[in-house]
């Protein structure tokens, strides 16, 4: 059990060590060298743990344990260049650090004081100039609020969180504010749900706040981040788990609940481990448990692991799953604020939404709502992926444009290819075409162009991606994840998928587009839950923005991007073919014939369109049409 004063003492004692990582230019002289190694899922997959082990060995061997401290952090953001290592003082970033690179960094930089230029994390500008990461748009143009501590503190050490004002917001709420004050602050901040729906968070809390102290209530956290290609919530849980726990306790105080549940994907083992550690530490310090800060308020949190069902990210399905049932959604109303978990009033918010709460309570609503647009306040975290140079985690103020995110922060599309579209909102969202590159990213604008904010997955597509294929991909996902409870979703999405398969197999008819449209609107209007209601979005938005591509598949029996196999033909240019026979030898089905030193030909009836011939041709004589 710690008192508020003891927390302040920890902050004072620890502050200097942490401050240098946030304010490298103004912080007081560091007493130690701090080496931050990213321990997020991306970097760990790239063996960052081995890098840390290697560094530890060298520190031990040099007897420098008291002077050099290694800190394993959560996600640094630029996953494409992992494993990432940062050395303070100096704020020097290294990229793609392998265990065999550690020796030079240790000797030349950490001991010798001269950074190793060849290993520095650099960003190449369009003009070819290379700049250090901290001077790059990726680093400078972001506004980190929800991710403020990610990649900079040790998520497994509560003291580091406390040094960053951790649990001060909870103390302020419990000791200086009434529950209604807390709700008012959140309402005034304009914070809206970051899980996709965009419902005002304060309003949600207000609905659940009736009858405080008279009925049992719950606070739940949706960490079932199922959108393929989205990893914002995982990164927050891995990098700053206490911010979510603190926010849930604040929500509990606001609505009058004493028990919280976090429903987290079992596919995120590192996040689960760090949450468990954070829970133990928070209970040990008494910031969770009985009579928190002597206020008389009790609150605790339990973890529940998902088991691989996308539909459980839908709020009512998530609650049915926590109750130990098949994760099927229930009709709304009644809304969870009235009748939620175990039939009691429940507030359910997503991870990123919670991560904003402590700062709103500490700094006030007007601090938060100075950022963003008229209707969308604050920032949004995106998981930038697909055909973009800087894949990783980015946080920008609401209202930033797609162009800023993809071209400036994301560093553009690789290999000189052209940007075609960005997909946001996962299987519930749509594709934003190049002509909407300058639309500001906020809830309303994205909806107006047929996509949605979603939880923050942003997949960049280039000219090599076929939009019919992308629509088919998402629909295939929805079909396999549909829980089967309601007919429009179970059967409707299946029928739509069959039509798309028909089109990409070259058997499409022009009427199919009308059929898709009719089915899509029917499903939107009649499916029971968000999964079904939004499932047609990827199709509707691709038909709207890329109708010519659908028509090429249907009328010309051609896939312009060269993806849909049934519509492809490989042909050998007799002018360029030298008759070396390499293609014929590599063809797995014997579809290529021709005499040595004579032009070869491909038999389209036998060809399975695997592309092996084209990959193996040394003369560029084979093309795909």
């Amino acid at each position: 059990m710690k008192t508020l004063q003891e927390l302040k003492d920890i902050k004072a004692a620890k502050g200097g060590q942490v401050d240098i990582r946030f304010n490298p230019d103004t912080a007081e002289e560091a007493v130690k060298t701090y080496v931050l190694v990213c321990g997020g899922t991306g970097c760990q997959s790239n063996h960052s743990v081995e890098v840390m082990d290697e560094l530890n060995k060298m520190i031990d061997a040099a007897g420098k344990k008291d002077e050099i401290q290694i800190i394993q952090t959560g996600c640094q953001g630029l996953c494409a260049k992992g494993p990432i290592m940062v050395v303070h003082p100096g704020n020097i970033f290294y990229q793609e650090v392998k265990p065999d690179m550690v020796e030079r960094i240790f000797n030349e930089h950490i001991l010798g004081g001269t950074p190793v230029d060849e290993y520095l994390m650099v960003e190449e500008l369009p003009n070819g100039e290379k700049i250090h990461y901290v001077d790059s748009p990726f680093y400078k143009d972001q506004l980190r609020m929800a991710l403020r501590n990610c990649g900079k503190i040790d998520p497994e050490d509560i003291d580091e969180y406390i040094a960053r004002d951790g649990y001060q917001a909870l103390a302020k709420a419990l000791l200086e504010m009434t529950p209604d004050d807390v709700i008012k602050e959140v309402v005034d901040s304009g914070l809206r749900g970051r899980g996709g729906g965009g419902f005002p968070t304060g309003k949600k809390w207000m609905f659940a706040s009736a009858n405080r102290g008279k009925v049992q209530k719950f606070v739940a956290c949706n960490a079932d981040e199922g959108d393929p290609g989205a990893f914002m919530d995982r990164s927050i849980l891995e990098g700053d788990p206490h911010s979510v726990l603190e926010a849930m306790a604040i929500a509990g105080y606001a609505i009058g609940a004493n028990q919280g549940y976090i429903y987290v994907r079992a596919e995120y083992p590192i996040a689960v481990d760090r949450l468990k550690i954070a829970l133990d530490q928070a209970r040990d310090y008494g910031v969770l448990g009985k009579n928190i800060f002597g206020s008389g308020f009790d609150f605790d949190v339990d973890l529940r692991l998902g088991a691989g069902a996308f539909v459980c990210g839908e709020e009512t399905a998530l609650m049915t799953s926590i109750e130990g049932n098949r994760g099927e959604p229930r009709p709304r109303p009644p809304f969870p604020a009235v009748k939620g978990l175990f039939a009691q009033p429940t507030v359910l918010n997503n991870v990123e939404t919670y991560a904003n709460i402590p700062q709103i309570i500490l700094n006030g609503a007007s601090w938060f709502n100075q950022y963003g647009t008229e209707t969308s306040k604050g920032t949004k975290v995106f998981a930038l992926g697909g055909k973009v140079n800087n894949t990783g985690l980015v946080e920008v103020p609401m209202g930033a444009t797609l162009r800023q995110v993809v071209e400036e922060i994301g560093g553009g599309v690789p290999n000189g290819k052209k940007f075609k579209a960005a997909q946001t909102g996962g299987p519930s969202g749509g594709c934003i075409p190049a002509k909407s590159y300058d639309v500001p990213i906020d809830y309303e604008s994205l909806k107006a162009i047929g996509s949605m904010m979603g939880s923050g997955g942003m997949i960049v597509l280039d000219e090599d991606n076929c939009m019919v294929d992308i629509a088919k991909f998402y629909l295939g996902f929805t079909v396999s994840e549909s829980c089967g409870k309601c007919t429009p979703c179970r059967i409707g999405t299946k029928r739509m998928l069959e039509i798309l398969e028909k089109i990409s197999a070259g058997r499409g008819e022009i009427e199919d587009l009308d059929k898709l449209d009719e089915l899509a609107h029917y499903i939107q209007a009649n499916a029971l839950c968000g999964l079904g209601q939004t499932a047609p979005n990827p199709i509707l938005s691709t038909i709207e923005h890329f109708r010519d591509e659908y028509e090429a598949h249907i009328i010309d029996k051609r896939c312009p991007a060269g993806v849909c196999k049934a519509l492809l033909n490989y042909v050998i240019d007799p002018e360029k073919c030298k008759g070396c026979t390499k293609c014929a030898r590599n063809c797995p089905v014997g579809a290529i014939s021709g005499a040595v030193k004579q032009p070869h030909v491909i038999d389209p009836a036998k060809c399975i369109k695997c592309g092996a011939c084209m990959e193996n041709c040394a003369f560029g004589a084979i093309s795909r049409k």
């Binding site: 393929p228 994760g327 997949i459």
Partner: protein, 162 residues
Amino acid sequence: MKVSSVPFKGTKDQEAKLLEVIAKYKGQKGALMPIMQEAQNIYGYLPYQVQKIISDETGIPIEKIYGVATFYAQFSMSPKGKYIVAVCLGTACYVKGAGKVLEEVEAKLGIGDGECTPDGKFSLEVCRCVGACGLAPVMIVAGDVYGKMTPDRVEGILAKYE
């Protein structure tokens, strides 16, 4: 859901562990899923016999347990191979060619999604986003993550697992 014809080989030891788990969650609301998750960790899968023990001990009807087991992708009613090969087909991986990696794995192992090789060595799973999108396309073998995969690396990687 594929139900295995492999005979159940649960031990007394495993059963004792399972009973311990059930005792730990006694009286807790919504404990069925955590019990099933721990049971799957103990046995590696959730055959009828294990579901029956859970049902007998908790009083939850077996049909409800079966319903939960078949609803969630994580629960398996057939045993898994010694090494689990997972190919991510999340969007970021998909647009960067994960489909071709999967085809190659299927061809090399001669099995499809959810199947196990006859020698019990490998089982293959298609998974949806492991969150390592920066490394797309991603393949995972026995917990080791291989990023920026290409079809021609598949054979060499699988050969590492004996």
